[in-house]
């Protein structure tokens, strides 16, 4: 297989069997540079198994994995520019974050005087600098997660693999980790996360691969996949305006192309059942503005990743 320069990770025909059980079945996955890919699927879909195969934590039954064009079986060279947080790793409880990052830094070949600089930088980014000399054993789960993420970033990786990074965290912890991921995304890294949290994929990822029963169900750009669901359902547009809706406005709105129905939900709000194109949706916004109602918010629900997920996993269950 000729390595594509633009591909950070190239998985071809990945299969992993444990006896009679097939965890991953012939998966193909291409991750382009600077992409943020979400591996989405229910529990047992094979997401974590895929990431473990890429990171060398387990040996595939068959298939090939190239990381930056290097075969993953050459683990040391393949993982040089990769950072991983797989399966909720635990830093050594008797270590401090500084010691943990020193250990990781030495393994990556960072010179001694640079380890301190890099460690300070990543700990500050992850809001752990003030905890650098406290024992990890006394940390909360969210703090330990930040230490593991810091260890995965100390060597300036190009690719970061994260396996359910918000798993087991409280809401505050989840928000903090998502903010961290947004920061990583903006810095141009190639990111792959596995998750069953639809919100994470829809908010963070540029593309996704949905898996079920070890196989790819669908993959592509998140927005394209969601908006390509023509005929798979309509969306509800919950709209709030700054002025009272005048009489007759809703009736006129219902005549616009793509609008299936309109319902008043308050003197300054209404819900539109819509199944048209983006241009037709934009026309609704223009219509509201042209009546001087001053649009405050328009949120879309129904035609989203959740609908896609439910429909595809339902189809798989019936297959």
């Amino acid at each position: 297989m000729e390595p594509d320069e633009d591909l950070a990770i190239c998985v071809s025909g990945l299969t992993k069997r444990y006896g009679d059980f097939t965890a991953v079945d012939g998966l193909d996955l291409n991750v382009r540079r600077r992409e943020f890919v979400g591996l989405l699927g229910p529990n047992g879909a094979g997401k974590s198994t895929t990431l473990k195969a890429i990171s060398g934590l387990l040996t595939p039954t068959s298939g090939t994995i190239l990381i930056n064009g290097i075969d993953s079986r050459d683990h040391k060279n393949a993982m040089t520019r990769v950072g991983c947080v797989i399966e909720t790793p635990m830093p050594y409880p008797s270590y401090t974050p500084a010691e943990m990052l020193t250990y990781a830094g030495k393994m990556h070949g960072i010179p001694k005087d640079e380890i301190r600089v890099r460690a300070r930088d990543v700990l500050e980014e992850l809001r752990m600098w003030s905890w650098r000399d406290k024992k990890i054993g006394g940390f909360s789960k969210g703090m330990r997660q930040r230490v593991t993420i810091a260890a995965s970033l100390i060597h300036n990786p190009e690719i970061v693999l994260l396996d359910e990074p918000t798993s087991g965290l409280d809401p505050r912890g989840m928000i903090e980790v998502r903010q961290i991921l947004k920061g990583l995304k903006s810095s141009g890294l190639t990111l792959v996360i596995s998750t069953h949290m639809l919100k994470e994929v829809s908010e963070l990822c540029t593309s996704m691969t949905m898996m079920n029963h070890g196989r790819e169900v669908v993959s592509g750009n998140v927005a394209d996949l969601v908006h390509g669901m023509s005929g798979k359902g309509t969306v509800a547009l919950d709209t709030r305006v700054a002025k009272d809706v005048p009489p007759g406005f809703l009736k006129d709105l219902a005549t616009l192309p793509g609008v299936a129905g309109v319902e008043s939900t308050g003197p300054r709000s209404f819900k539109t059942t819509f199944s048209g194109s983006d241009e037709q949706q934009s026309a609704i916004v223009d219509f509201i503005q042209s009546h001087g109602l001053m649009l405050l918010s328009m949120s879309e629900s129904g035609k989203d990743l959740e609908s896609l997920y439910m429909s595809l996993t339902d189809e798989e269950a019936g297959a």
Partner: protein, 309 residues
């Protein structure tokens, strides 16, 4: 591993925790790094494991074991002087003080090397290390060398203290034999550590009991029974590494030692004749080191193939 507090001043109190204090260039965010050589990474794993020991009770347990020798000697000497009879020859006296060497070295090897890897797997700390650009062989070997180094240091310290005590009251000492005895004990210890370590790669949960029972009882008993059943086999079975500490203490001129053979030699000779501990120190050392290396290799293969589910 020293804390950072001395290298960097605390950030300004006005600095919001979460803001980076360094510019990109100063923070070396564009720097690319290559993993060091396998030897360097082996050293990092080795030092890392020793650092972990220093933070756990392992080291202090080893220190306590060694410190117990002169204390135990003093107590026994006061309460039952006939138990550890002084001798004109320092070697013999030291050998008596080291009577617990066989069981103690097996215990140390089982406790230290039988739990290292399972502890990493069960506490999930291994998920921090294995995705790093380091081969599993280096990780495996680095941890083993640290465990063996700790056990070897303990045995050496025990020898040193025993020789110091015995030399203080003996007229003669034979240094070359002491060193040969120490070398024999260390080669036996190497095989014990390798055995416990290899066993741990095949267990979900670590066990200090299983390797200890195997080394102290099951394997010696099997060798003795087989030697009795198969005439002439003692020339091979007598060089099983489990008897290395017995030979080490015999080389010091002492015959009282805490092992299956040492405690039950006479009943065994009467009921199951045919077994003798191999007399050649060279062959015993070679067998211990060779079998130890083989077990280390077997454990390494199992570790390489282990899927981290």
């Amino acid at each position: 591993m020293r804390p950072f507090r001395k290298a960097h001043a605390d950030p300004s109190p006005d600095l919001y925790d979460g803001e980076r204090s360094m510019a990109a260039a100063d923070a070396m965010r564009d720097r690319e790094y290559s993993p060091p050589s396998s030897i360097s990474q082996l050293r990092v794993c080795f030092v890392n494991q020793l650092a972990l020991y220093s933070k756990q009770r392992t080291v202090w347990t080893a220190v306590a074991l060694v410190a117990a020798i002169p204390l135990l000697y003093a107590v026994l000497n006061a309460l039952a002087p006939s138990l550890i009879q002084a001798s004109d020859v320092a070697n013999i006296h030291a050998g008596r003080i080291l009577a617990a060497l066989p069981i103690a070295s097996m215990f140390m090897a089982s406790a230290v090397c039988g739990s290292m890897l399972p502890q990493e797997y069960n506490e999930r700390t291994v998920y921090m290390t294995l995705p790093l650009p380091v081969s599993r062989k280096v990780f495996y070997l680095g941890k083993f060398l640290a465990g063996f180094a700790l056990c070897a240091a303990t045995v050496c310290a025990a020898y040193g203290i025993s020789i110091a005590i015995s030399s203080a009251c003996a007229a003669h000492s034979y240094t070359a034999q002491m060193l040969e005895s120490l070398a024999m004990a260390l080669s036996g210890l190497f095989s014990f550590c390798a055995f416990a370590y290899m066993l741990s790669t095949r267990m979900t949960r670590g066990s200090s009991i299983a390797p200890l029972v195997a080394l102290a009882a099951a394997i010696p008993a099997a060798c003795i029974i087989l030697a009795h059943a198969v005439p002439g086999s003692t020339c091979v079975l007598g060089y099983a590494p489990v008897f290395a500490p017995d030979l080490a203490l015999s080389m010091m001129g002492d015959s009282t030692h805490m092992s299956l053979w040492g405690l039950f030699e006479y009943p065994i000779r009467n009921s199951l004749p045919g077994f003798e501990v191999g007399p050649s120190a060279t062959v015993m050392s070679a067998a211990s080191l060779g079998l130890g290396a083989l077990m280390l290799w077997a454990g390494g293969r199992a570790n390489d193939r282990r899927d981290m589910r």
